[in-house]
Every structure is written in structure tokens, then in C-alpha cells.
């Protein structure tokens, strides 16, 4: 019987964690400490419910409801002069809370301010597309679908963007192993040669510390090559590798090292 392994989080973990160590948090400040942000937040709060808002590293984070995202971004673009959506994606919190955090990073060139809009969705839920508001969301939402499997409603072309269309699995999920699952390991072999070729081509060598017993036979020290099958001792004599064969090459003058001029000065 196969041993049980917890597949909730297969990403690499530290070997040792101090149970009394508390991860440092970036300091949070009241929104009222910055008057531009305070005015922006008041404008958002007038129309939409806001569950939390604070300033971290001179940027404001606003937590809203998932259904309000289109309205909030429209308000921010048209009335609050946040005209750029620089980035958007998701964060996997499936193991902790069975949900994703979605963030939208907004930039105002006139106010010189950045605001991060955040909300959570449950695992398996879809988000509302903001592609109609910001063209940059087109590819970002496709990438989010590609990497997390979160679909965007009303997106004009909801397909994978980085991975091939016939790929299985969502690589940025915590449950996805970094070196790929079984589908990923055989993807190119199955697609090009078919499953029958798996045995002939063999599995991928992922272990970087693998030592092949033929390595020293096949790969010799450059300039100290020996014939195949020779016992490698480590102090092989210098084996002058001539570009031209002993008999010379047809129609080409034999290169004579002694009569050639060597340029020593690299700054000639």
C-alpha cells in the first residue's frame, strides 16, 4: 500500500520552524493620516460597502465585496483619476480558508498615489471581468485563469495564456508541485510520440545530485580526452586536439602552429 502524503500543500517547506517566532507585520496606518486617501475612501464608501481600509507602505488597501468590483473600478477610473490598472491577480488561501484573495493594483498618475482593491472569493467561484474598463485586465485575467483556474465572467476570450490549451492543472496553486505532476512530466512525450514512447525515452531526471556511473566515461576533461573504456585516474596527459585531421583536409592548407603568428596583446 502506498504511504499517505498530505496533498494540501506540496510546495517546499522549511525543515525547521521556531514555534515561538512571530512573523513581522508591516505597520498599518489609519487612512485619515493621508488626506488624499481619506477623500478617495470617502468617495468609495459613499456608494459601496467597505469592510476594511488601511495604509501600508504609503499605499492604501481597500477591502470590498466581490460583486462590487466593476462599480468600484469604474468609480475610481472616472471620478477619482486612478486611470491605470497596473496589476491584478489572485493569492491561494485554499488550505487556510478555502478561498482566494483577488487584488487589483491601481495607479493615479495625477495624484501620484497607488490603491490596492481586494476581495475574497470562495474556491470554485468566478470573478467579474473588468476588461471593459481596463484593457490591461484582458491578459491579466487570462493569466489568473491559467495559473489559478479562476474564471472571469463576461471576458471576451477566456482561455489559457501561458500554458498550452490542452494543459491540465493550474500551476500557481499551492497543491501543484513545482516540478510538475504526472501529466506535466510526460506532456511533451505523450503529445509528440504518444504514450508508447514513454518507456523508450524514460522519465525526466529531476534529481540534480544524480550520478551516472558512465559519466566519467562519456565526459572527459576538455583537452585531456581518452579513448572510451579507459580507466579514468584524474591525471590524464594533455591531449592536443587538432582541428584538422592527421592527413589534412582536402583543398585546405594544413594549419601549422609553429609558423603562425600568435597575438598575445589583447589590446592590439
Amino acid at each position: 500500500m502506498r504511504t499517505y502524503t498530505n496533498k494540501k500543500n506540496v510546495q517546499a517547506k522549511p525543515y525547521y520552524t521556531d514555534r515561538f517566532w512571530k512573523a513581522p507585520q508591516v505597520a498599518k496606518y489609519e487612512v485619515e493620516s493621508d488626506e488624499v486617501f481619506a477623500a478617495d475612501l470617502a468617495a468609495i464608501k459613499a456608494k459601496f460597502p467597505v469592510s476594511d481600509a488601511f495604509i501600508q507602505v504609503e499605499q492604501m488597501t481597500v477591502w470590498i465585496n466581490a460583486s462590487d468590483i466593476y462599480g468600484v473600478l469604474e468609480l475610481m477610473r472616472d471620478e477619482l483619476a486612478y486611470t491605470q490598472l497596473s496589476e491584478m491577480s489572485a493569492i491561494d488561501f485554499i488550505e487556510q480558508r478555502d478561498e482566494f484573495e483577488i487584488f487589483y493594483q491601481m495607479l493615479s498618475m495625477t495624484k501620484r498615489k497607488r490603491i490596492r482593491i481586494k476581495y475574497t472569493i470562495k474556491n470554485g467561484q468566478a470573478v467579474d471581468s473588468v476588461e471593459k474598463l481596463f484593457r490591461s485586465a484582458d491578459w491579466s485575467e487570462r493569466e489568473m485563469f491559467d495559473m489559478f483556474g479562476i474564471e472571469a465572467n463576461a471576458h471576451p476570450f477566456m482561455k489559457r495564456i501561458l500554458m498550452p490549451y490542452d494543459w491540465q492543472g493550474y500551476p500557481l496553486l499551492k497543491t501543484y508541485p513545482l516540478q510538475g505532476d504526472e501529466f506535466a512530466a510526460w506532456y511533451e512525450v505523450d503529445k509528440i510520440y504518444g504514450k508508447e514512447a514513454r518507456e523508450e525515452i524514460g522519465p525526466e531526471i529531476r534529481d540534480t545530485s544524480t550520478i551516472d556511473r558512465y559519466d566519467s566515461e562519456r565526459f572527459a576533461k576538455l583537452g585531456h580526452e581518452v579513448p572510451k573504456g579507459t580507466e579514468i585516474t584524474g591525471d590524464e596527459p594533455k591531449n592536443e586536439q587538432n582541428y584538422q585531421e592527421e592527413g589534412g583536409v582536402f583543398l585546405i592548407k594544413k594549419f601549422d602552429k609553429d609558423s603562425s603568428k600568435v597575438i598575445d596583446d589583447p589590446q592590439r
Partner: protein, 169 residues
């Protein structure tokens, strides 16, 4: 009738060189290795540098071609992703025989530092490779040396015979 001034029978004056078919065919092949432009990542920059004036690949007869049908050697320079694997196979199949493959750099040889789900762990899983160049990225001198070794390899083969099917892996 004009008098011939050259004595053809003395001092190598005869404008005839005797050789075997193998040698003259291999001489032609080895001195006109046209390479397929195949820069996939940063090794492609070194490959371009090899083709440019300082390292000057043209003096080996190596001219980069943008079509697999005109190319003799495929220099796989860079990281091969799994998405791209089928295209490298298709381009290799489109090359006319005899054809050779140089795997340039760690990524093309073994996947290199990209021990991830999206990278093919060595192009020899997809196409047979004649020459592996170590380095990350190999310097243009390494690629030049590789092409010279390939020329040597071509000269060692029988020209008349059809190319033996190469073993994958």
C-alpha cells in the same frame, strides 16, 4: 595556335586535384553548415554574437537561415518549454537530411536551473543531439569550437551512405 606557357605535368601545374567522392562531398558539406536561427533564450544572444562581425561565423561557411528547409544544423540556443516542444520537433522534421543538432547551453542540455513543470529537461528528449555545449551561457568561442568539431564529425562520416537514424536519448 597559342603556345601554352604552363607546364601542366610539373610543379603541380596540372589544374586537376584527385580525391574521393566522400572527401569532396564532405568538404562541401562541412564548409557550408547553414544554421537554423533558433534563439530561445539568453544563449541566443551569444549565438547572435557568434554570427556578428567580431566572431564572424561566415568564415566557417556558417550562415544563419530563417527557414528549416535551407538549414543543415539546428543550434538549439536556450530554454525549451513544454509548450514549444512540438514545434522544435516539427522544425527538425522539416530540415532536409543530412541534418545535425547542436544543443547549446545548460538549459538545452538538461533543463539547467529550470527544474520546473514547464521546462523540457533536455532537448534530447525530443530530437537526437550531435553535440552538447556546456556553459550558461557558452561564450561564442565555445560555439565556434563546437561548429569546428561538427565539421570534423562530418568529415569522418561516409558521404554516400544515407544518414543513420540517430538514437533518441
Amino acid at each position: 595556335m597559342a603556345q601554352h606557357k604552363v607546364n601542366y605535368t610539373q610543379d603541380g601545374g596540372l589544374p586537376v586535384a584527385l580525391t574521393s567522392i566522400d572527401k569532396i562531398v564532405n568538404w562541401g558539406r562541412s564548409n557550408s553548415i547553414w544554421a537554423l536561427t533558433y534563439g530561445l533564450a539568453c544563449c541566443g544572444i551569444e549565438m547572435m554574437a557568434s554570427g556578428a562581425s567580431r566572431y564572424d561565423f561566415d568564415r566557417f561557411g556558417t550562415i544563419f537561415r530563417a527557414s528549416p528547409r535551407q538549414a543543415d544544423v539546428m543550434i538549439v540556443a536556450g530554454t525549451l518549454t513544454k509548450k514549444h516542444a512540438e514545434f522544435i520537433k516539427r522544425l527538425y522534421d522539416q530540415m532536409t537530411e543530412p541534418r545535425w543538432v547542436i544543443s547549446m547551453g545548460s538549459c538545452a542540455n538538461t533543463g539547467g536551473m529550470f527544474n520546473t513543470y514547464a521546462t523540457v529537461q533536455g532537448v534530447d528528449r525530443i530530437i537526437p543531439v550531435d553535440l552538447y555545449l556546456p556553459g550558461c551561457a557558452p561564450r561564442p568561442e565555445t560555439l565556434q569550437y563546437g561548429v569546428m568539431l561538427l565539421q570534423k564529425k562530418i568529415r569522418a562520416n561516409k558521404a554516400g551512405n544515407a544518414q543513420k537514424p540517430k538514437r533518441l536519448m
